[in-house]
Assembly symmetry: C2
Amino acid sequence: MEGEPEKWILMVTARTPTNIAVIKYWGKRDETLILPINDSISVTLDPNHLCTTTTVSVSPSFDRDRMWLNGKEISLQGGRFQSCLREIRARAQDVEDKKKGIKIKKEDWQKLHLHIASYNNFPTAAGLASSAAGLACLVFSLAKLMNLKEDNSQLSAIARQGSGSACRSLYGGFVKWIMGKEDDGSDSLAVQLADEKHWDELVIIIAVVSARQKETSSTSGMRDTVETSALIQHRAMEVVPKRIVQMEKAIQNRDFPSFARLACTDSNQFHAVCLDTYPPIFYMNDTSHRIISCVEKWNRAEGTPQVAYTFDAGPNAVMIARDRKTASLLLQRLLYNFPPQSDTNLDSYIIGDKSILEDAGIKDMKDVEALTPPPEVKDTILPTQKSKGDVSYFICTRPGGGPVVLSDETQALLDPLIGLPK
Amino acid sequence: MEGEPEKWILMVTARTPTNIAVIKYWGKRDETLILPINDSISVTLDPNHLCTTTTVSVSPSFDRDRMWLNGKEISLQGGRFQSCLREIRARAQDVEDKKKGIKIKKEDWQKLHLHIASYNNFPTAAGLASSAAGLACLVFSLAKLMNLKEDNSQLSAIARQGSGSACRSLYGGFVKWIMGKEDDGSDSLAVQLADEKHWDELVIIIAVVSARQKETSSTSGMRDTVETSALIQHRAMEVVPKRIVQMEKAIQNRDFPSFARLACTDSNQFHAVCLDTYPPIFYMNDTSHRIISCVEKWNRAEGTPQVAYTFDAGPNAVMIARDRKTASLLLQRLLYNFPPQSDTNLDSYIIGDKSILEDAGIKDMKDVEALTPPPEVKDTILPTQKSKGDVSYFICTRPGGGPVVLSDETQALLDPLIGLPK
């Protein structure tokens, strides 16, 4: 170590997207290494609307590893953080910053401590895969700081040990997590099937649904499913392998009907095995069910799928529309069925890419109130039957790119002089 | 035919119970004959609280077959009614009523017309297996009228062709519907596993849950499941056969923990395959989920099951308590979580066997309001969080007996002189 001793701080800031599985991961064959019982496929979401930003820093003046999430210090003692930190430190290389006159030899990384600050540009508790983006960003930014030679696929195998689905956030576009065969997990990693430009007409609308009950964590939920469901092994061994092949093909061919059918049925089957767990796990609620009915009714009326839906371990709906035109028609339907509460601002009810709202011809609450029932709905829903407040807000987004380093230092979350949150 | 021509009317009145499956029937291998893809097991419910009463009558003065359900004339043209009528007429025997001076030869039944009146002592639309009790009662009463030699098991194979689960209503207590192997359905029939006295401590509480959405009919629902679910065949061929053996043993041994575990997991798996159907079918709603959570939390706290739950093709919960003491504790919990709306009379909110309510020490609404959270609930539920009106009412009942002929003519639903509803 050179440079002015005890004084220098080296830092890297990176941004990593969240992802939503369209063929679901549910069930581990190894709890410690986080090895899944089946392959899964995901779509990466545009980091402009949903992402984690992480600044990692190292300094001889730091006396211990510390981490802040959304400005609040959190413990790094969890086994999952420790696995990631250990795996990355073991692969660290020599680092030299000539401008700052800093030189770190690879063996020094075992002794140097880290300060880490992480920030989600979306509510952490909303059930939007914040841990996937978070762990992926931690691993990616540390790999850049420590000059790892590993590519993103190899890094994904490290991120996997922090949070299974995090491995799929190392790439943009369409990503497959290969379950692997090795006992040590070395071949359980993510590969990119296609980048986000391959199928760029898709538009994604997320309904953040108000939950009344506390949810089962996905870690304990999937453990219970593997231990008690009489259907999960059949799903993992017989059903998913066929769907993976079909989904890869659907993505390659931009075949929306097949993509939608596979995404919807696989989401439903994931929730089916949750229900087959003992005691049963319910992630979807009545609002989730009503969103599905709304989409299914429309798809059936059109004769071919316009919109796919998928739900993770919570009541939020992620809807994927075949194109912008369809997305604006979907948004009209959603606002007709799930209008905001009277005291809610439309601007905070539809967030993300607001241009979809413009396309739908909706400028203010008057336009929402003037929406007429879509043609596939026979009976007009009376205003009193509409349950305002069942959806907290909608996020409009699209498939997006993978992790990037943010070289603009003003975007760092840590003060470059003291290494503490700004 | 003798007796005063064109004048005489011969009639029989019978009462038949409903039943609730504890190992579920879902999926047909033959739509016309109604042959199932797996065995099922049910508990017959006490006809004092839930039953169908049917009067069947024959007269040379009737010019066509007619039927009234709950006082309203309905069509008998449906294939299912026609199947039952055809099968029964084909087995009709000579009948003689010496007192009335009536003699009917078996070949006459093909020409004689019937008047049928049926009445449910519970709401038809509440999703409480009214068609099972109804078809069973139709077949049973016609068999008595036409002097059939067939026993109840053979009659069950006829009732089955009217409504699958109707075949299980031909016996009291605990009943198995054997799926059978023959293409003609002759061996697909019900047998009694044990009568209602075998396990008479059990108490049943039914929560009739308010539904917001129209439900998928079970006929089309199970067809869609068989056609689209990737899990239903595994359930029918691998899971259910083992559970049938275990459930028979649990009933034989009055082994409540095994009985409860099997009933709950099989109900959940039935709803899981509904969710795995495309488009997905949701029968349970948020209220159903909350009832399950309430029971599961209590069972876990006690270390051994106190109550089993099972849900048919709708949101209603059927809860089976191990004994009267447990049932009164269950009722306290249910009333704590699901109090009646302020304008509801307690007497109409808890119907059936009201002695359970007395055991629970609840005399009026003040007692309901004074209920304290059960020990397994850590956080007191605020009165504002309780959703009054989510449950329409509760029915307290128990396992009960099979079909009986009501010889008291005052209980007949048809006027003995004109053969029309009283």
